[in-house]
């Protein structure tokens, strides 16, 4: 029996190296921390070394003190643990396999005044195993119409329903959410103020926005508030595109797309079924573009907690280009306002983003 005590990274903690620094993610607590690349190497190598052996390789006392403080941090936050050397191989690594029981896992559907194809679309999505659904009402939305479409969504066994509707001063949104308790979020666009309220025991978010967020050009934002420090997300990110994988969209005219912001249509819902659209050769072309293939993102330490966008790119001619709406520079580890970057000005105009309300 060995008496040597070595350190190990908890199998559930995820390491991602960037070009300048690395990220250690604790998905069970939903936390993540940036660490220097030198520390990343020490942890990632998983040599059966003790902390004192590792400290001994430091060049001077100052470096050893810094490394010691990092070890204290890692132990304090339960990112690494100590064990006897002869037991160190007993901790099985986690498998990063990803799958969900669905051909299409999430959908965005825009509807107009009649919502004529909504019933049929919902039925088709159910057959495809769709679990999460975003409904965007592109026209005026009196309470009677809103109740009508929510009645159609009721009983669809969807895990998540997000609703984007225009502001109507006569509608009692809180009462509406209480009645239709399957709603996960309701976003009221063109509202007089910006406000966020959590309802139904925090299971639903009622958001008022002064902007018209129904406009797809508002989408594709890359920001820290949208990071997902989650094992399922991390596993998906290693193999697939974290926005477009198993996604389908139907625009207000019934055109079937990968995303409302992308121009390519795979047919109209009035003419073909969703399954027929999915079977077309190019429908899945974005599904396997992961962050390790995307320029700049592949050097970013946040790439596996982040979500991608293939609709708005820094270089529209290159499908592997960095998302336009990302203001993070992994080479300097700084965030900036992407919309004020002079190098992005022409592209912003090209996409028509400059003119949205």
């Amino acid at each position: 029996m060995s008496d040597k005590i070595v350190f190990r990274l908890f199998s559930s903690c995820l390491l991602t190296a960037g070009s300048t620094r690395a990220l250690i993610c604790d998905p069970q607590r939903g936390n993540y921390y940036t660490i220097p690349l030198s520390l990343y190497s020490i942890i990632a190598e998983q040599k059966k070394a003790s902390i004192e052996e590792t400290l001994a390789i430091c060049e001077d006392q100052e470096e050893a003190e810094i490394l010691k403080s990092y070890f204290n941090f890692l132990l304090e936050h339960e990112l690494i643990f100590l064990c006897r050397e002869d037991l160190a191989d007993n901790f099985t690594p986690i498998k990063y396999e990803f799958d969900v029981p669905a051909i299409i896992a999430n959908a965005i559907v825009q509807i107009g005044k009649k919502a004529e194809y909504l019933v049929d679309t919902l039925a088709q999505l159910k057959l495809l195993g769709c679990q999460a659904f975003e409904l965007v009402v592109m026209t005026d939305c009196p309470l009677s119409f809103l109740s009508h479409i929510l009645e159609l969504c009721k009983g669809q066994e969807l895990d998540e329903v997000n609703l984007y509707i225009p502001f109507n001063p006569e509608t009692d949104y809180e009462a509406l959410i209480e009645e239709y308790c399957f709603l996960s979020s309701v976003t009221i666009c063109n509202a007089p103020t910006n406000e966020e309220i959590f309802l139904n025991g925090d299971s639903c978010t009622l958001r008022f926005s002064t902007k018209d967020l129904r406009d797809h050009r508002h989408c594709g934002i890359i920001a820290e508030k949208y990071f997902i420090p989650d094992l399922v997300h991390h596993s998906e990110s290693l193999q697939h595109n974290t926005c477009l994988n198993r996604k389908i969209a139907i625009d207000v005219n019934g055109n079937i797309k990968n995303c409302p912001s992308l121009n390519e249509s795979f047919g109209n819902i009035k003419d073909i079924t969703l399954e027929e659209a999915i079977c077309q050769p190019h429908f899945k072309k974005y599904w396997n573009i992961n962050k390790d293939q995307i320029e700049v993102c592949k050097d970013c330490e946040f790439r596996h907690v982040c979500t991608d966008c293939r609709a708005y790119l820094e270089d529209p001619s290159n499908v592997y280009s960095k998302p336009l709406k990302c203001g993070y520079d992994p080479y300097t580890c700084t965030w900036e306002d992407w919309s004020k970057n002079p190098l992005k000005e022409n592209i912003i105009i090209q996409y028509g983003i400059h003119s949205i309300e």
């Binding site: 003790s50 004192e52 204290n72 132990l75 064990c83 006897r84 679990q131 895990d159 399922v232």
Partner: protein
């Protein structure tokens, strides 16, 4: 065997010298002291996994 491992003098690291309690894995079960209530979440349930996975169908701002 004492199920709480105390490191003897001369070993490579003495966990008791650290400024916080360190969980040490041994071949026998270790009684981990109860640290107080943690945030309640339905980990492992279908709702939790799917809610987390599909948190952002779109990101509009």
């Amino acid at each position: 065997m004492n199920n709480k491992m105390h490191l003897k003098e001369g070993l490579l690291i003495n966990t008791e010298s650290l400024p916080f309690s360190v969980r040490l894995w041994t071949a026998t079960s270790v009684q981990i002291p109860f640290k107080g209530p943690r945030e309640v979440k339905s980990f492992g349930t279908r709702e939790y996994k799917y809610k987390k996975y599909y948190k952002y169908i779109s990101r509009r701002g």
